[in-house]
């Protein structure tokens, strides 16, 4: 069986104390615990500090365009759905530049797992505001404070059809490992929004800040209850952050609904179509 070491590429280049370190460990641990190895998993990295995990994590991977990791992952999945596909990206890329893809992939319930690094800033471009920051957040690009209200990724995914919506915290790796495992295991679009302190550029949403405001959804919470989940997604208006799976349903994944896709092999593996006469007939 593969070990953490098998998944480990170069050493990360994140700032000391950055939440990305914890997320990196959680992802690798989840992979190992699920019995995967670098040859058996597909990963699409967005562009950002988060995406720089590309040098750290071994896999069949694409380090693609900023904001476009979701559609890239969708393509990867459809072509070869046997391989689990994980997206690793930031809130700027996934919710800002790539917001439209996030929204529509939720609708499609594509069987991919998003590990969204929610640090409220654009880390890699040195600290401009990200769309899920709090209203009034002051950054280089919003020195007078962000005018928009926060983008609510949990509500967005939920109301648009995602079948697995969860939230984790970079400061609690153990819980995060479990969440990631469940998300990957889930068949369908799974979002793990990870609250991730950016120690360099975000002086508001610190470890301290989250520690005081997160709470874990316990066993009494019914994650199949859509309405309840919808309410949960609204709590961040009061700066409360539920940790765990807010919602899960078992509606079929996109690829499972393509009638002509061989479910037991894959688009790539099926035999070639050569019965061209069937089509030529339309043109005589």
């Amino acid at each position: 069986m593969a070990t953490q070491k098998d998944f480990s590429g170069y050493t990360g280049t994140w700032c000391p104390g950055c939440g990305d370190w914890g997320i990196g460990v959680a992802i690798k641990s989840a992979f190992v615990q699920m019995g995967m190895d670098p040859s058996s998993v597909g990963v699409v990295f967005d562009i950002g500090c988060s995406g720089n995990m590309n040098d750290v994590l071994n896999a069949y991977a694409i380090h693609g365009l900023h904001g476009r990791s979701v559609p890239t992952a969708v393509g990867m999945k459809l072509a070869h759905h046997k391989m689990p596909v994980v997206v690793i990206g930031g809130d700027g890329g996934l919710y800002g530049e790539g917001g439209n893809h996030f929204l529509h992939a939720s609708r499609g319930n594509h069987d991919i797992t998003l590990i969204a690094h929610d640090n409220s800033v654009y880390g890699l471009t040195t600290g401009q505001v990200a769309p899920d920051a709090q209203k009034g957040y002051k950054s280089k690009s919003t020195p007078q404070g962000m005018i928009e209200v926060s983008l609510n990724p949990l509500a967005l995914a939920l109301t648009q059809g995602a079948s697995f919506v969860a939230q984790g915290f970079a400061g609690d790796v153990t819980a995060l490992i479990e969440l990631i495992k469940k998300a990957i295991h889930h068949k369908g679009f799974s979002l793990v929004n990870v609250l991730q302190p950016c120690v360099t550029f975000n002086k508001v949403n610190t470890y301290q800040y989250y520690m005081q405001r997160i709470y874990t959804l316990d066993h009494s919470y019914d994650r199949t209850n859509y309405k309840l989940a919808l309410e949960k997604t609204q709590e961040f208006n009061e700066e409360k952050y539920p940790i765990g799976i807010l919602y899960q349903s078992d509606r079929p994944a996109y690829h499972e609904q393509i009638a002509h896709l061989p479910q037991d092999s894959s688009l790539r593996e099926r035999p070639a179509f050569r019965d061209f006469g069937l089509l030529i007939d339309d043109f005589v």
């Binding site: 058996s40 071994n58 380090h63």
Partner: protein, 573 residues
Amino acid sequence: MDLFLWKIGGEAGFGIMTTGLSFGKVAIRSGYHVFDYNEYPSLIRGGHNTYEVMISSQEVYAQKQDIDLLVCLNKDTYTHHKHRLTDKSIVVYDADEFTIEETGFVKLHIPFASMKKEHHVMQIMVNTIALGASLALLSGDIAIFYEIIEKEFKRKGEEVIAFNKKLTDLGFNYIKEHYSEHIKPVLTRKQEKSKMILTGNDAFSLAAVVADCRFYAAYPMTPSSTVLTSLAGWQDKSKMVVRHAEDEIAVMNTVLGASFAGVRSATGTSGGGFALMVEGISFAGVAEISVVVFLSQRPGPATGMPTWTEQGDLLFAVNAGHGEFPKIVLAPGDIHEMFELTLKAFDLADIYQMPVIVMSDKFLSESHKSVNKEDISNLFANYHPNRGKLVNAPGEGKYLRYKITDDGISERLLPGAPGAFYQVNSYEHVEDGHTTEEAAPRIEQVDKRSRKWQTYLDSHFKAPRVYGDIETADAVFVSWGGNKGPIIEAQKMLDAQGKKTAYIHFTHIYPMNTSIVKDILSKDKRYILIENNAHGQFGKLLTMETGIMIKESLLKYDGRPIYKEEIVAKVNT
């Protein structure tokens, strides 16, 4: 040479397109070659719609100016086209609806309106009456059209079939009864090899299936949309996965993801959608991901004239994407070339691991032409994908996705292969795919990618084909894309006038072997650049690559295709 132009026109939204295509099908089934051209507004209703079909016993590549039989379903059809009538022309119209003052051609009244009323049919069915009349006038075999009706309405049942046949008869018999003296032997049934009739888009779509393209994503955009809808419609047969995604950016990146995972993948769009894909093309360039992009042009800029034709995106396509990376641009000139070059495009994308753009335009994308069915079947049967250096398992040593090689091409390992892993990277990278910012590997990788171009020029670039003999020619045409049809037809006309011409037809647009091209453009000849755009973009590209400037040109940019007569006139000035 026998060339007959039938044209029908009416209000948009009333099935003119279907009628035109049915007419074409009758013609090929009767043993003739056809080429058609249609015009419609970028509106669902309210505009004007026309369809013209050239019929010939020889292969025919373009329409002509003179209309031989004009079927007017409304007055506009007459008004818009009366300048194209000659003393041999026949005009079919309903004199109860409008009058035609002019004389000098044959006017045949058919009481469409009262027939419509009498038989309680919708406007769209009047087309069928008109088609029946057309067939009668041209000595067509009504049984052939019956077959087409039967095929088309099979699902709708016997009654519908019978009713359509009846409407056909109505028109057919009206001519036989009233105008038998005007009947011409244009569609007299002949025994000929079976033909197919299809558009450039049809040919691209079919070839994509044959090339074993398994994933196609697109966002609708005229004039590329029918590729999406055809491929989507064939899914249950072809098993291709076809996805109409949220936007063109998603489309492009989804296609790249699928291609990375190992399936041949493509997309199609027009200029505006292509503009949204150029970042992805740059990504494909640096990450060395195979992808075929079908770019069917329409007049720009921006929304432009969505349902008309132009070749205005050439330099944009050639220079598409930020940064420097190799790509290949191909441009078929007719249906047959569309088949060949599409198949080749998929091979090239795999062999060179780069984006390959297949350019078309509304004229080529939506005009039907007949081709020999057996030729196409053979082409298909003999085609087997060449996937280049794609491997199933890693070799000895560490697998290096971007290994430096002499030909610039590295082995590409199918993701999922046990015992290995790698990343493709939009950042500059070292051989194993990891990001680098060092000078030496940067230079190495830029050079490696550039070498793929050289390899392509040595191995797969095809010099422009010359129609006619440059040495003896009075005028030498230089052009590309769908202009091929009108030029070939103009050559025939000029030949008949005793003027020798040659045509240098470019299909492998970019990159080009400059010495070959220089050579062919450096004779002491009257070269004429012909393009369906205002800037003479292909001419500019030729200059950029060779330094040669072609002095004379025929540029048309009003959204209409070039007519062969315009070329003849140009030569004769």
